[in-house]
Amino acid sequence: MRSLSIRDLNVWYGPKQALKAINVDIPLGQITAIIGPSGCGKTTLLKSLNRLLELNEQVRVSGQVLLDEYNIYDPSADVTEIRTRIGLLAQKPFPLPMSIYDNVAYGPRIHGLARGVLDANVRGHLEAVGLWSEVADRLKAPATGLSVGQQQRLCLARALAVEPEVLLCDESTASLDPISARGIEELLRSLKGRYTLVIVTHNIDQARRLADHVVFMWLGEMIEHGPAATFFEKQENELTQAYLAGEIG
């Protein structure tokens, strides 16, 4: 049985505690949305799931994140393997300084995937994000020449090419125009089932549209979580009610 569970997770930035005793199970093959006001620890929680937090030297983490019963914070854990299994789609589209083709091929190349069938692999991932027909004639062109929306789809293709099991999305539509944002949303929905998605969003409507499961954060604490249907129907906590009603945050 595959699973992703967070057990008693605490995070400090220097002396400031950013996450307080978080316990939650992320349902597999579904979309889990982490919502809450700015600065509540949404992104910190997300980035604790693939150990990106530790790029900041001030950060201290205690607790466990279990991927198939394997604690990714175990001292013997291989961080590159963890980040291979748990991919990231960042807030702003950020291509690597390479051609369109190489952006997608980079992951398979370093991880030794798709040997001998790299062209087909790249094409497959570009098709999956609906970019193939737009870039087929300029695969060797710089990725920075694409529009912002195209760049974000390229970044999604790049993340998927590493063949992760879990995909973390950090407000991945926030810096896009509405049409591109809707496109990314559709793509994320289409990934459900094959991948476990964890998305951070400050957009409650987006959470309503996409999420199967919702986690509500407030000042570093997890206030409430549950299946989207029941979560949006009836909230147990006053803070959650107030936040969803737009009274706070």
């Binding site: 980040r83 690597l96 920075t144």
Partner: protein, 284 residues
């Protein structure tokens, strides 16, 4: 109304001031080129570019400065490459493994100090090093001394370029499960145009430096013929020719200076061209 007029006058005054300074700086370059060209072009000949000095070259007889042209190219290329091999990994390491550590701050300070040291000091230091290692004045010793001169230039210039790389690049790359060494490769791609600029600066400095090679590379009228043999260099060729009392030989010094300038110009243009090609994929 009056206030607006004053603001417009201010604008006019300061743009005029900037244009004046720009013209001043440009004029110096133009004057240098004009003087070198007008005094040297008459002495420039095919013979001068294609032959080594024959007996009596320094009293106005036949021969050329091919030995110094080739010698200088060897010295500057060798030093630039050797310095790059040392400096580029140091810079990348500083940024990926020890970005904010105390030792990296100390290293930057040390490099800044080294940058400011006059090259005659490197020449003297290189000379003692040479004696210690049992080397004679030679191409190798000259390359080593020039390498010491250009390492700080290369390292600090490249360091600044790497510091300008977007912070996200690191997070995005590592999030794909890359090792830090693989991230170094991506960082190198992002900063390659900056590295080329740094190499160019270093090359320009190395080929134009006379003091560091004075004791270490020696001088010879022969073509370079081995790492452990002395080599001629253009700056010293210019110096020796200028210090003769013969106007004809002095004119050749200006012709040699012209050659040196043209070499630097050609290298700059080549680098610009490479930059445009290499910079295609850089994230801005």
């Amino acid at each position: 109304m009056q206030r607006n007029q004053r603001r417009k006058l201010e604008e006019l005054f300061f743009t005029a001031l900037m244009r004046l300074c720009l013209a001043g700086a440009g004029l110096v370059l133009v004057l240098i080129l004009v003087i070198i060209a007008s005094r040297g072009i008459g002495a420039l000949s095919w013979e001068m570019l294609t032959q080594s000095p024959s007996g009596g070259f320094y009293t106005g007889q036949g021969g050329g400065i091919l030995n110094a042209i080739v010698g200088s190219l060897y010295l500057a290329t060798g030093a630039t490459l050797l310095a790059a091999v040392i400096a580029a990994p140091v810079v990348l390491y500083l940024h990926v493994y020890g970005s904010h550590s105390r030792s990296s701050q100390l290293l930057r300070l040390a490099l800044d100090v080294l940058w400011g040291i006059p090259s005659i000091v490197y020449g003297a230091f290189g000379f003692s090093l040479m004696v210690f290692l049992g080397l004679r004045a030679s191409l190798l010793a000259g390359i080593i001394a020039l390498t010491l001169v250009v390492i700080p230039i290369l390292a600090r210039t490249y360091d600044e370029v790497v510091a300008l790389a977007p912070r996200q690049l690191r997070e995005i790359t590592l999030a794909m499960g890359t090792t830090r060494a693989e991230y170094l490769g991506v960082l190198l791609r992002q900063t390659l145009p900056g590295l080329v600029t740094a190499l160019l600066l270093a090359f320009g400095r190395a080929i134009g430096d006379a003091a560091a090679v004075l004791f270490t590379a020696g001088y010879t009228d022969n073509m370079p013929n081995g790492l452990l043999r002395p080599v001629a260099s253009l700056p010293l060729a210019i110096f020796f020719q200028l210090s003769t009392p013969f106007p004809a030989v002095q004119a050749r010094a200006y012709a040699s200076a012209l050659v040196l300038t043209v070499i630097i110009l050609v290298v700059s243009i080549l680098a610009q061209w490479t930059l445009r090609h290499l910079g295609r994929h850089v994230i801005r």
